[in-house]
């Protein structure tokens, strides 16, 4: 009731401050060790991002699966944001029905490789009906078919130093995933949608599907994948194109 400084209060606050400072130091080491700091951790907003990312990574297991739905729940209306890439490289491949398309996989891998669309379709596939929300607020449910990214990562032999998998599409919207989402069983290199070949507006020939994050993490029009231990030399070093245009790198929200 009294605001006066009593001995008990002094001791309590002293202990609280000491606990706070050592707590922060321990938290920092812990966060570094368990990869709990997102690449866009800088600035005042980075504090919120780091808290969100770290707490979700601690909460989620590698295999907590996003909800899957029935065929009957597939949305009839599936809007598209943005046009396909208008550069020559993409348009040429599109004109040839993506027969000459190759997905390069390099970086911290034992066997750098490149895969054709037919190669990917020969690999074991996974089909899942999942919900995707756009950061804008709208959402839809669709069926996706593709090869799990984990299969490709095993195929090329990912180094134990790998911390991120970076995806370069034919447009500028490159992005990256941390290893928990890269190895996640629902993370696909999708070539099929609702039982048909992936349509061009939805990212043909192959797009990434990240079931536990917002739509913008599911990079369309894939061209190359790089496995790396650091993101600081790619783009502005914030982990993806999104933070460069004002959106967070981690979108598990």
């Amino acid at each position: 009731m009294s605001d006066q400084l009593t001995r008990r209060k002094l001791i309590t606050s002293g202990l609280a401050v000491a606990a706070g400072v050592s707590g922060l130091a321990v938290a920092r080491r812990f966060a570094d060790r368990y990869a709990l700091i997102p690449p866009d951790y800088g600035g005042i907003f980075g504090v919120g991002e780091t808290l969100t990312y770290a707490s979700q990574r601690l909460l989620m297991s590698y295999h907590s699966l996003a909800r899957e739905f029935d065929r009957g729940q597939i949305s009839k209306v599936i809007p598209v944001n943005g046009p396909p890439p208008d550069n020559d490289a993409y348009q040429r491949l599109r004109a040839g029905d993506f027969r000459d398309w190759r997905l390069g996989v390099d970086g911290l891998v034992a066997r750098p490789s490149s895969f054709s669309l037919a190669d990917l379709k020969r690999f074991p596939s996974r089909t899942q009906i999942t919900h995707q929300a756009c950061e804008e607020g709208w959402s839809f449910i669709a069926e996706w078919t593709g090869v799990p990214l984990s299969y490709i990562l095993n195929f090329v032999g990912v180094s134990s130093q790998a911390k991120y998998v970076v995806f370069f599409p034919f447009d500028q919207s490159w992005d990256s995933l941390d290893m928990p989402d890269a190895w996640h069983p629902q993370t696909l290199l999708a070539y099929g949608m609702n039982g048909e070949d992936l349509p061009v507006p939805h990212g043909a020939p192959v797009r990434l599907r990240v079931a536990r994050q917002l739509g913008y993490k599911s990079v369309k029009y894939l061209a190359r994948i790089t496995v790396t231990d650091a993101l600081k030399n790619i783009g502005k070093g914030w982990g993806s194109y999104s933070p460069e245009v004002g959106y967070s790198w981690y979108a598990g929200i």
Binding site: M60, S75, S248, I253
Partner: protein
Amino acid sequence: MLEFRLAQLCTKIRLTGPCRLRRFLFQWEKGFVGLEQFIVPLAKGDGREAAAGRSQVLLKLTSCAKPAGSRYLFNPCGAIMYEKNQRPPVALKHSVVVRVTHWITAISFVGLLVSGIAILLAHPRLYWGETGAVGTDSLIDLPLPFVLTGQSGWGRYLHFLSAWVTLLTGLVYVLSGLLTEHFRKDLLPAKVDLSLRSVVHAISNHLHLRRPGGDESLQYNVLQRLTYLSVVFVLFPLMIWTGLAMSPAITSVVPMLVTLLGGQQSARTIHFFAAGALVLFLVVHIAMVCLAGFRSRVGAMIRGNAAVRKEHA
């Protein structure tokens, strides 16, 4: 539980004002004193008091040694006892934790509101169920423009930062409120106040802008109690729940968060309406602060002391 109006009790101590007696242990500003209690039912036909169903309780101090530095007595439910010939005391003070968490929450709530609007404007339509998009049936088309110029980017960064500040501040506030029994003592309404008559009386007081006088003004009335409790224990938890229910990462761990609400778009819609309820609370709260005396009320939330004869907004 008794509600009573206390009269002169002993030569030294006078009790006034309606008061709910829960514990027969009264407190000086520092330290406790025990009380003997005598319950004297009101004589039949004793006017107003009897009609209101009140009993009179006489209290006599068994030990009234005044701890050094204490000025007055007050009991755990907020009724005031003070020494004769003394000015009515300043009693119900906002604790340091309440004041600090109040202002941090005020700032972070503005952050949440502004950024929430920025996010909403990217798609000002509400749906029910799992999905919804332009071209599907909406629940409500808000009369707002679609703003697709990337305002949701900083909006989202600010929203989640503010949400963390609000959440952590709220945890401190709730834990402290439970430990110090602030909720039980100052906010939980007594059964007697939850009667229809009592609630109607409180509403009528508000509608007529009748200010409580004297000691009645030293505690929260039943409407304030119910409102604050709803904001703290219903609306904010609902905001957090519906917010988490929109996260595909969180719902991969706890799918029930979203399935119980009927889907991701339902969660978004409930999030919107709960936010609307909080904004309504904020507007009424500020209006009541202005009516009760802006300077004194805001001052009380900054410095802690509450001047008597002012309503606690």
